[in-house]
């Protein structure tokens, strides 16, 4: 499964992904709860075997499906 598909599969456990475009701000749409940020970090680290550090903790990296994909691709080199 490609990176974006895996991200969408994870998101599908929390929201209706059919309602989200790849460029939609997941947090601003109010679709996720306060724990989601933590769940997302754990998902990215486990699924893609990368470590999310302080340098990555910019909301810009997590707010859309595209930005999450870009972060992962960058981290994987």
């Amino acid at each position: 499964m490609r990176v974006k598909e895996k991200i969408k599969a994870f998101l599908a456990k929390h929201v209706n992904v059919n309602e989200i475009e790849d460029t939609d701000n997941i947090f601003e749409k109010g679709l996720v709860n306060s724990l989601f940020a933590m769940q997302l970090v754990m998902f990215i680290e486990k699924e893609f075997e990368v470590e999310i550090g302080n340098e990555d903790l910019d909301l810009v990296n997590f707010r859309t499906i595209n930005s999450i994909e870009n972060l992962i691709v960058r981290k994987k080199g």
Binding site: F10, K13, H14, V15, N16, L31, V32, N33, S34, L35, A37, M38, Q39, L40, V41, M42, F43, E45, K46, N54, L57, D58, L59
Partner: protein, 377 residues
Amino acid sequence: MVKLTEMQKELQYEFKEFVNDNVSPLAKKNDLNEVLDESLIKKIIEKGYLGSMIPRKYDGREFDSISIGILNEEMGRGCSSTRSLLTVHGMVAIAINKWGSREQKEYWLPKLAKGELIGAFALTEPTAGSDANSMKTIATEVGNSYILNGEKKWITMGQIADVFIVFAKLNDKATAFLLPRNTPGLTVKSMGDLLGVKASMLAQLNLENCIIPKENLVGKEGIGLSHVGLFSLDYGRYTIACGCVGLAQACLDESLKYCKERIQFKVPLGNQQLIQKMITEMTVNIQAARLLCYNAGNLREASDPDSIMETWSAKYFASKMVNDVSSNAVQIFGAKGLSKEFSIERYFRDARVNEIIEGSSQIHESLIAKNMLMCAK
């Protein structure tokens, strides 16, 4: 039943022995004096339990999640106040280990692991409990420093902590900072006379122009609650859930002994069916809580994102369970359940706080339901 590994079984045996020999005998004294016995803290440090959650490369014992759960269960069985030391100290260590800079990890973690420093978690304020984001403590950037002003309250182990992880609004965004006890402007005032966990050594902190170096910010501006705080609270929630299982087990163990010894109507109390009903409910609910904790522990060990909600579920169930079980234990003991001559009344008092801390039961009910509704197709 979850199958423990040989290593986990060995650790379980070690923890049980340690608690039986060192913790349980001091629990009553801790409660009466409202202070954790110093020699007990030293022994906990010597065993490396304050470093149970810290990686070996920072001098910790780096237990796996199940073993950490068992450690907290056994500590909870011996003395809830003592278990609370492991919880809050661990929360500080977890925050630094996950979000700290390399320099912060290298400086703070070995000291925390070896018990050279005790850590405490300072989030709650007089007007900010469940609504943590409404905190009023502020941080102002000035040159190479931050200046902290505000108030924190109900800080477990605040009376003995050497370093606090403090949450403050920096540019109106919740941010985490490390605040050493000896920072000028920090006043620590003991809080006592609680209903239960009387030796959890709570304190109120007043921060008046506390200047800390920029290096003491943990993580980044604005992620204090969403990442630093929540990761720490997640650990706190897990250890509290396990501690509840231990406390409930202590209630059951003593109740069983009493049911065999106490004779009424010429037979042991345990022969009475209505007592048997209580024993059954206690037994099964303790085991159910334990399995929820093990489930959460296994998922945590696998770094599975599902561990977060499973930890919420474990804490919710275990905290309600221990209040029911301790209440049943008082009922079984009758008048003796109300007397300080026996441990049961302390167990009953110690149980109560667990539905309040690390997320009240009502917050759990709201969050777990909303999560389920969000995930439902």
